[in-house]
Amino acid sequence: MSAADNSQGITPMLAEIREGIAQGRVPARIFNDQEIFDLERRKLFGKAWCFLAHESEIPRPGDYVTRSIADNSIIVARDEHGNICAHLNMCRHRGNMMCKSEMGNASHFRCSYHGWVYKNSGELVGVPYFKEGYDTRLDRKQWGLVEVRTESYAGLVFGTLDPQAPSLDEYLGGFQFYLDIYLKQGLGGSEVHGPPDHWVAETDWKICAENFSGDGYHTPVAHQFGFHLGYFPSSGATHSEGWAVHIPGKGHSIGLGHTPGMPPFFGYPDDLVEQMHESLSPQQLEVFSKTRTAVGSVFPNLSFLIQPFSLVPGEPGVRFCTMRLWHPLGPGRMEMWSWCLVPKGASDEYKEEAYKAYTLAFGQAGTFEQDDFENWTKVTRAAGGSLAQGLEFPYVMGLDRPPLEDWPGPGHAVSPYVTDTNFRNLWGTWADYLARED
């Protein structure tokens, strides 16, 4: 494409990309491209429901955390009435950032520039020299913090910058069935173990979101040490077993790995398994009792993973659950946010044990995590190369495979777990967003 074509916009290229995705081809350049990133910022992160926080991060009135949707800093707070609300982290007077810490507790936010004061629910309540300076010209009701629409599911607070966006329920479109494996581990639900760790990486957020949409294919190679030393209860021979499910047109997907011969719900303590028989539906129990690994993504950039980890090869070990946000910073650059979710009703001993397994496997020093980012940064770098601009990748695995007819859950399910089926849906949804009219 010449420079002249570029100046006419990226629309013709998007049409080609969409056609290619339907046939199982994805262009390499999307993983490191300024124009694509600019479109994502506006048409994808400006329209989708984006994860903000877990309710357990702000349990008391006044608790807040600062998060982002694309390049917008957002304050997520629990107000004095216990309601969760989100506002742009920007004073309405001259635009200074209101909260500069990651988390805290405050009934009010005071701007450090000219001193405008807002309640944590966003109302403007204090304006220095209000009478002397503004006469009657400033209507405080009009100048509260800019509200970001929020909705929650099972502890997850999402926000959208689009006032016209459909409800979160509609957006998730049945994926709640699968999210429950992470969020309803027992009757008390899940909670974060502590503040997330976060770090920056020269990686495009989409590579990671794709990986967590069920890339079972990379595991035996990228994480070969885990198989080799026996810390991962699956072998190269059985690893492809299981199911891949996505919600058509929504972009959400999950890979459910299965290891034959393992007891149901292996790696969870008995009391938790008992509780899950009440917190989950019979259909969910049928699916999840057979699941070794559940790795899934809520479109666009929130992912989850449950897997067992055992220091003693051959034993079920312990289950940990990580929740991660692939926060875009620029083309080929992101900030990783990583939490450990633990079952709220579990014993403190189990929570600690699960957390330790998480840090060993999937925190930023996690032995599995380290290798993923090593690969992803190299993919990103290659995708920015000039020759890569005209290249495509094959996404044809499982292209003509029909969905399972007797699958107990919602969505489009195929077997085995190792397939590109979820990814074609992911990229199709992604391209649909980018091609939408404003």
Partner: protein, 173 residues
């Protein structure tokens, strides 16, 4: 902590300092087995998550979140992993240099155990990257006298960055 602390035997101070330098050398020369041998069987190795907070907040090093949260057994897992051909994040390996300064030795309730504070700056270079990762940390080690040498009973290292500018932590502090 008072600026003038009760004196510690000069020989102990010099021996501790020498030990920390040799330990750093083992890490920088990737002699991870030698390094692991310097840990007591009941050792703990932890790096807390730092959180950017307002000045009056109760803590800024998370009481619950850790980047590393290891026992000797799990450090052994990490070292065993590095000994395989599949530790891709260290293939080719990081080049590290540990700079250890400001070593302060204090007595504990136990005559054979000392609390050792130090500053640690780790320079890490990878592949052809010209920009290194630099980790600055405060370390607090509990060292136990073991015959003529020392064992690390507890290493606690707090990074000064809240958002670490490295795509992974496949090295040790």
């Amino acid at each position: 902590m008072p600026l003038q602390a009760p004196g510690i035997d000069r020989e102990v101070r010099e021996s501790v300092r020498d030990f920390l330098y040799r330990e750093s050398l083992a890490l920088d020369e990737r002699r991870f087995r030698d390094w692991l041998a310097a840990f007591a069987d009941d050792a703990r190795y932890e790096i807390p998550v730092r959180v950017t907070r307002e000045k009056l907040a109760e803590w800024e090093l998370s009481p619950t979140s850790r980047i590393f949260d290891d026992t000797k057994e799990t450090l052994e897992v990490r070292v065993r992993r590095l000994e395989t051909d599949f530790a891709w994040s260290e293939q080719p390996p990081s080049r590290t240099r540990h700079f250890v300064t400001n070593i302060l030795v204090d007595a504990t309730d136990h005559p054979d155990e000392f609390l050792v504070r130090s500053n640690c700056l780790v320079y890490r270079s990878r592949g052809e990257e010209t920009a290194p990762s630099i980790f600055s940390a405060q370390r607090r080690d509990l060292l136990r006298r073991d015959g003529g040498s020392w064992l690390i009973v507890h290493r606690w290292a707090a990074l000064d960055q809240a958002v670490v500018n490295a795509h992974n932590m496949s090295i040790f502090i």
